[in-house]
Symmetry: C2
Amino acid sequence: MSEKTNQDLERLRDQIDAVDQQLISLLRQRLDLVAQVGAVKHQAGLPIYAPQREASMLAKRRGEAKELGIAPQLVEDILRRLMRESYINEKDVGFKQINPTPRPVVIVGGRGQLGGLFNQMLTLSGYRVELLDQQDWDRAEEIVSEAQLVIVSVPIAVTEEVIKRLPKLPDDCILADLTSIKQKPLQAMLDTHSGPVVGLHPMFGPDVGSLAKQLVVVCNGRDADNYQWLLEQIKIWGARIVDAQAKQHDDAMQLVQAMRHFSTFVYGYNLYKENANLDTLLQFSSPIYRLELAMVGRLFAQDAKLYADIIFAQEHSHDAIADYLKRYQEALTLLNSGDRQGFIDTFDEVAQWFGDFAGQFQRESRNMLKSANDSRQ
Amino acid sequence: MSEKTNQDLERLRDQIDAVDQQLISLLRQRLDLVAQVGAVKHQAGLPIYAPQREASMLAKRRGEAKELGIAPQLVEDILRRLMRESYINEKDVGFKQINPTPRPVVIVGGRGQLGGLFNQMLTLSGYRVELLDQQDWDRAEEIVSEAQLVIVSVPIAVTEEVIKRLPKLPDDCILADLTSIKQKPLQAMLDTHSGPVVGLHPMFGPDVGSLAKQLVVVCNGRDADNYQWLLEQIKIWGARIVDAQAKQHDDAMQLVQAMRHFSTFVYGYNLYKENANLDTLLQFSSPIYRLELAMVGRLFAQDAKLYADIIFAQEHSHDAIADYLKRYQEALTLLNSGDRQGFIDTFDEVAQWFGDFAGQFQRESRNMLKSANDSRQ
């Protein structure tokens, strides 16, 4: 590199440094302002996530970016990332308490990860939370005696059993669970308790920094009017509520959860059996393969029991998993007989069935893959 | 909402608007400065992607963020997104031409997507590019007569055939291909041409906005010294070069490509056969399921022939695909016999085999999933 080139680059980099320092200081200002918005909302008991406000703000910014010749998507991506940070910071302010009463919320299994998250969110909203774990069981009756709400958050395999073992709850107490299947736990809760009952499935892991934009599926058990405040509270945390029938929910979960986990498990198992060299695979990985490998590998960083529970809990999922095997065999037959045209025809049939979703998924994943490439070292 | 709350929110939102306008104007300044860096680099013939400079700049910014009480990851994510934009904009400046000669580069199949991308990159680097497509075949001899480089970019299924049909090239002309398998095309090129030969596998799709940080696998055929300038040129575009043996490359591709595509295909086929309701599935989808559905759906937005080619091209991939079926059956046996402990033991075995990669993949995908959640409407 020539001296001149070197000097030019140094000068420009100094200028970039200066711009970046202003940028960081603006980020600080924006986070502070949004925190103030959060405090005002907290006072007024407004939900932290306001989809319409967010959409109109983004539309305005995209327009402003365009005027300056900046790609609107760049500004949108940066603002969305900033909003995520603000949502995480909301926790520092706490949340409005929708149902202020001194009666405690009891979390059965509150020392688990998901129970811990609900403990945190409820505490930040001013509720008195008590935990009921295995070691506390001899005091169970006393712990639930004043409860306004009991949330069961234990492994699927023992959910029904734990619900059945619960001592008698106050008549007006809400009984809820957080299990990822809903029919059986809901029935068990209705059998055990005569008061308000609701099944919840938080569609996120315990490691989300914020509940903003996350989904909670709600299956009504009994006395919906009496547990409305709990749903309002969850909305205050930023989550979206989706009502569902327990059976409809469980059927969908077979496909998106049990079966997907199972085939991901088999994929990892197969890599192990083939004794694949992960270093080499990663070396040859485009962003999409790397992402797919990551989705497989992440499963094995987690608790085997959790996945065993999810996969073994639903009898019907075995059928779905066996169906998949049948289809795999059919497709392999096409391959082994060299029936390229048959493969293409089937492919096109499936593509037609996906319809507009295929294009939508491609657009969505394209942005995702670009973002995956950003982080490459 | 009270009048007071409303006023407070309005005032804060006006302030946020003002900060955002400054932010957008700073983004414009930064993009301009980086474009100037690009111009200086272009003059000096330096590659646009400088990993070390990038890493040290990010480390500095993370430190500055920390001092202001901002999460370092926030600043890093925003800067990485900005850098992506700058890389895309690099194209406006053009690239240094490593091998300035008036002799043309010929792209066989240059009207295809990937051929088109190489056409664009080479043209932006000052090369004269000529296309040789099916309809030009009667002029093929004339088109290649002065070529310094011939790049074959046609569907896998016809790559070997097209290579064999090529007219005689100038002795010192480089013959290269862009196919995603390497052994057979490389052998065909060596058989056809006595000059420099190199097999390239660009590990990215034609829709990447920039080659920065992307990967190109290089398999040597013959006379490596004589095609070095081509590799240097690719590095100028920002891509990383990975040397590989053709067999080693093809073996890895069986696992990460043929097999992965095949099982993704079967997954989509199965959803179709189960007549899953995609609307309902999406409604119940956490970020991770949505991402996985998107990875399946995106396949079917693409050309069936492309995937048929990739999957049918490699005989050995059939073995890998059949192996996967065997493992699926083994795992299904565990499930059908209710052998929860057997499942857990196998899971733990695989987890141990993944070793540190599992945790690494979990961290990587966590950030990805958070970013997927950012875009939720």
